[in-house]
């Protein structure tokens, strides 16, 4: 036994003594959040932590499904807040995973556009389960050097012209994008809402996706992956979020995005508070903070989405000239109607027949599609 070995043992022992001390540290004033990529940037989280003393821990989730599962993990006591999209928020409300809050305690609530104060995806029976945050479209992103003429229709990702250079999100809700395309291009199918599909409509949509599969390079799983794929020449066109466009443009990559003529699917996100949170105080402070015009503007510009606070427009233009118009913060209603917001497909789709394909079917169809 050399002296050196004892030294090593001593170092190990000291190392072990520390964690024991660390465990007892209280976690008061900490908000554990589940968020989309880019929703908890230091830019607006740091000033919040500084002014309120509440600490923010963020965990990124890749899909609404994952958000629901995480919110329920460990009996629902793990996370305090979630930035849920419309296809998760109702599941969370009916699952009693999130609690109703009093919006009058949020100073900026009165400045929200009327549509966003009580949208059906977060307000049930007059109760507000969280506050709306931002909304935006899933866009068509393309490489301006490799794709010409510039696309105007979603047809670009279903045609063989860019075979092997196309990318779409790896997410069952992507079925709605194909359904939306069919809704406009094959009216005979009678699709009224891309989230309410009977079996004929659903099968037609899946067939379209099956035909699309050989064209696809990659079903992207994370925003970072799509960014890297456009940058590294793996793909030239695909369905995207504005976040990727912004990151790529900032890196001077030759890309552009658009909402094609068929319209687009999109999201309306809500910050919701867990029913089991022990930090309601901090959570309410976060809701107030995230809805102030300045933070709304910062996030809108960073992610490339539209703020719900109508006062954010002026600040957006101050932060980045023309950004208010670019993200449609000044003309929401007409633009808003072009977008079919994510919602959870359920069997009872309001036609009284309960014959729509529910989300479980969407998921297994998506798994089968990827094969």
């Amino acid at each position: 036994m050399t002296k050196r070995m004892w030294a090593l043992v001593a170092i190990l022992a000291v190392g072990l003594a520390f964690p024991a001390a660390g465990v007892t540290k209280s976690s008061g004033g900490t908000l554990n959040m589940i968020a989309w990529e880019g929703y908890t940037q230091a830019q607006w989280v740091k000033p919040f932590e500084k002014s309120t003393g509440c600490t923010v821990h963020a965990k990124y989730a890749g899909s609404s499904d994952e958000m629901v599962t995480l919110m329920r993990s460990g009996g629902g006591s793990q996370y305090d807040m979630v930035s849920a999209s419309g296809d998760a928020s109702l599941r969370l409300i009916y699952g009693k995973d999130v609690q109703a809050i009093d919006p009058t305690k949020i100073p900026d609530f009165k400045n929200f556009g009327k549509t966003f104060q009580s949208p059906p995806n977060n307000t049930v029976g007059g109760k507000h389960y969280g506050i709306s945050l931002q909304w935006g479209p899933n866009t068509l992103l393309y490489n301006t050097k490799k794709v010409s003429p510039a696309p105007t229709s979603w047809a670009a990702i279903y045609s063989p012209k860019y075979k092997g250079k196309v990318t779409v999100p790896d997410n069952p809700i992507q079925i709605a994008d194909a359904a939306l395309y069919l809704m406009k291009t094959q009216p005979s199918l009678g699709i009224k809402d891309p989230y309410e599909l009977n079996s004929t409509q659903f099968n037609a949509t899946i067939n379209l996706l099956k035909k699309q599969k050989p064209l696809i390079k990659k079903y992207w799983a994370t925003a970072g992956q799509e960014i890297s794929d456009f940058k590294n020449g793996n793909v030239v066109i695909g369905a995207s979020w504005p976040y990727q466009t912004n990151t790529l443009v900032a890196d001077k990559a030759p890309v552009k995005d658009l909402v094609p003529k068929e319209g687009a699917t999109g999201w309306l996100d809500t910050w919701m508070v867990s029913s089991h949170t022990k930090n309601l105080d901090c959570a309410m402070k976060w809701l107030s903070w995230i809805s102030t015009p300045k933070v709304q503007a910062q996030q809108a510009i960073f992610f490339g989405e539209t703020p719900v606070n109508s006062k954010a427009c002026a600040i957006m233009d101050k932060l980045s000239k023309g950004s208010c118009a670019q993200y449609h913060a000044n003309a929401p209603l007409k633009y808003f109607k072009q977008i079919h917001f994510w919602k959870t497909p359920i069997a009872d789709c309001g036609n009284g027949q309960k014959n729509c394909m529910d989300y479980t079917k969407w998921q297994s169809a998506w798994t089968a599609l990827k094969g």
Binding site: M5, G15, V23, G38, G74, E226, K231
Partner: protein, 266 residues
Amino acid sequence: MESRNTRIALSVWVAVVLAFLYIPILLICLYAFNRSNVESWPIPGLTTKWFSPAIHDPDMQQALWLSLKAGALSTAVALVLGSAAAFGVHRFRFFGREAVSFLLVLPIALPGIITGMALNSYFTFWKINFGLWTIVIGHATFCVVVVYNNVIARLRRVPGSLTEASMDLGADGWQTFRHVTFPTISTALISGGLLAFALSFDEVIVTTFTAGAQNTLPIWIFGQIRLGQSLPQVNVVVFLILAVTIVPVALAQRLTRESGILRTEE
């Protein structure tokens, strides 16, 4: 001995394999100095601007700290349980001896996602809050076998006569352990413990299921890969960790070699 040609061929092979092992790692280190935040080849330019934000990122620091704690604790659990099992199995012939080996090997032989899912629903069932200790339990399952294997392999090489000689000379069980047994297995404990720590430190799959809201370092890294905006910071962190671990890994290797007591076969 092997012919000259065989020796040359084998040396070339070793060089090629080392290149295979290290080209990606050199890339990781190179891109820690990437000027752009989106990584692409060839590298557009060099800068050291990522080092400071990477080191001072509080999320990274917390994640690193949690990983160090989880690694140290799982290694400690593994050292205790793994060597106890190794001694038990080595010394005493009994029915079901094989079953014990089989049981301990299971967590590394079964896919991590299964261990993760199983523990996740088990902890949820017992209403155990996810956190440091659930991570430690998850990691300890597969760390135990690493220590166990190292210790039992060592015990097989040590002649039982050493222990008997010690007892014959009047030492009691503790003294024999302290002066004879422990020194013979100490290097096995070091290499087993180091490997266990490395496995825990870099584990993603089981951790995904057993961690709560806090991130371990690999989960923080996965978050950065998801975001795709500050990847050079990940490279900086990995680069620094490599630079720091070369010393203990090399030291452990030297220690393992120095213990001449084991070279009975030469």
